[in-house]
Symmetry: C2
Amino acid sequence: MLTTDHGLIQTPCFFPVGTAGTVKTLTPDELETAGTQAILANSYHLYLRPGLDILKSAGGLHRFMKWSRPILTDSGGYQVFSLAGLKKVRENGVEFQSHIDGSYHTFTPESVVRIQRVIGSDIMMALDLCAPYPCSHGQAKEWHEMTARWAARARDADSVSPFLYGNRQNLWAIMQGSVYEDLRRESAAALVDMDFPGYAIGGLAVGEPKAVFHDMVALSAPLLPEGKPRYLMGVGFPENLLYCIEHRIDLFDCVLPTRNGRNGTAFTWKGKLIVKAAREKENFIPIDESCDCYTCRTFDRAYIRHLFVAEELLALRLVSLHNVHFYQSLMRTARDHIHAGDFATWAKSVSADLQIEEPSNLELQ
Amino acid sequence: MLTTDHGLIQTPCFFPVGTAGTVKTLTPDELETAGTQAILANSYHLYLRPGLDILKSAGGLHRFMKWSRPILTDSGGYQVFSLAGLKKVRENGVEFQSHIDGSYHTFTPESVVRIQRVIGSDIMMALDLCAPYPCSHGQAKEWHEMTARWAARARDADSVSPFLYGNRQNLWAIMQGSVYEDLRRESAAALVDMDFPGYAIGGLAVGEPKAVFHDMVALSAPLLPEGKPRYLMGVGFPENLLYCIEHRIDLFDCVLPTRNGRNGTAFTWKGKLIVKAAREKENFIPIDESCDCYTCRTFDRAYIRHLFVAEELLALRLVSLHNVHFYQSLMRTARDHIHAGDFATWAKSVSADLQIEEPSNLELQ
């Protein structure tokens, strides 16, 4: 369990992604009803749009988007490499061009703390350099070392700048090191030495084979301190979440439930369901008969499929809503089994039904 | 007041448009909360997609879309001319090409009754020929006469075909005659003679000048029987609704609240508000401080504007929701003033604030 000034977070916990200050298609009320304890927002996107002036005038992101529970913000380091153009990495920080208008910007460890102060998130991330896959050992080493130096600078910036809206903010650091065991160990050691209140594992689920992903999670989690939250960024598919929970990951975020929802793919306890598939066209049963979300309590697959075929926006809402419910239900059930002491047995019993997927770019934030 | 097997409709009443079996972006729950008594659905669209087989398997549109209150369906006559391609008008009916896939179809007065039987709407419309604007007197005469002959055939078809789902269906006829007083009189006389339980006024708000539109409404309404509902199709802007209510129109439908909502234009008691305008970017007040809809109770203009700028789908939902609330609030207040006996005074007092708009193609269904 984590404590923030916007409430407790019971772990393991999955954060739906609210990139631009909205979990796509859904309202804060709907997220709460689904059992969402906290969301992730993207510092990169919010910095560009609506921008810091508006966020500051609003009194921070909680008040702007009317979300009263905890918010975690990423560092922007990942988006700078995945979305923005023409970047230069220097010791001071990273230069990039906005993916929206091509304008030039620089993120430094200090500026990213400032940005997150203005956002007012409960959990902030120190600026990191996320190695792509594949990445040479040399570059991965150089970047995780830079990430560690930036984490120290972020910590210093955090320690001297006041909170803007009354609520306290926690700064966490992000482990890197690509798929190299020695670098993961070095990265963890350097960051743990700085005694952050929480740690993220970055640089995974970026295209590496599933076996490598699993190995890296199993290796990385124990390198981080017992008793502090461990957050695996940008993951992922339900089956992978159970694997990672078994390997002591506490927190996750991923666009999958909402992105796949908008694409007409629903997650269920029996695997993925392609709602817009022709075989559903006269199937008058809910997406998941065991689900108690508004979508499943109200609508049949045949209707939702029709909405997708007719390109009706309600379709995107309904499946996104179901998917967020499903992810929260998965986490709630996982917590119950952890408390009951039979998590491993349970996870094994349901993993076969939760469809196996390769980690891919789809898992990215 | 109208009575249907799916409930009462208090008049004057505005029907949000659920073209393809969904009022765009909104759920049935949200429509009910807004005070929506009934919706309109399009026979043309539903016939093409999802098609009659699926609608019949579902047990009709109410069950398919999970809307338990009354549904009115138009005849498809308007869509055939506004959306479909390559049409031929013959005595038997109208041939057209689907706007979706170019396939050829024919609507006859009898087939359109059959289609609406499968939809299961509470109020059905007889197939009509909607004259464009401008339209010659000769063509307008030919088409309103054809419309009257088709209405008689539709009545005959209705009288011999059973209801499919238990609920009774009412067949109404549509007055035509373009902007010609003599033709409006002829059309009304012919249809009233057939003793339909309700009448629509069609062929207005199709591009004619506002003064002509007003004159035609003032002329047409009294030609229809007292004590039977009068429905003005495809109208309209708030100020026009008040004018038409004063001229004894009972029922309206229009895409304006939802279409303009998706375009970022909100309707309020003080006129139109362009929510996505730059001037709203740091305006931390609701769209309408007097409105009790979820959007206005929860979000500020600055946030909704941000959602539009960031092309977030939640924006479309929020303003559509507000607009449907506003239209229902306008109708509810109009009913209250009719009951209080001071409608004309009240309408005059608020019309100046409800922004004046020319009837235009935007008002079309």
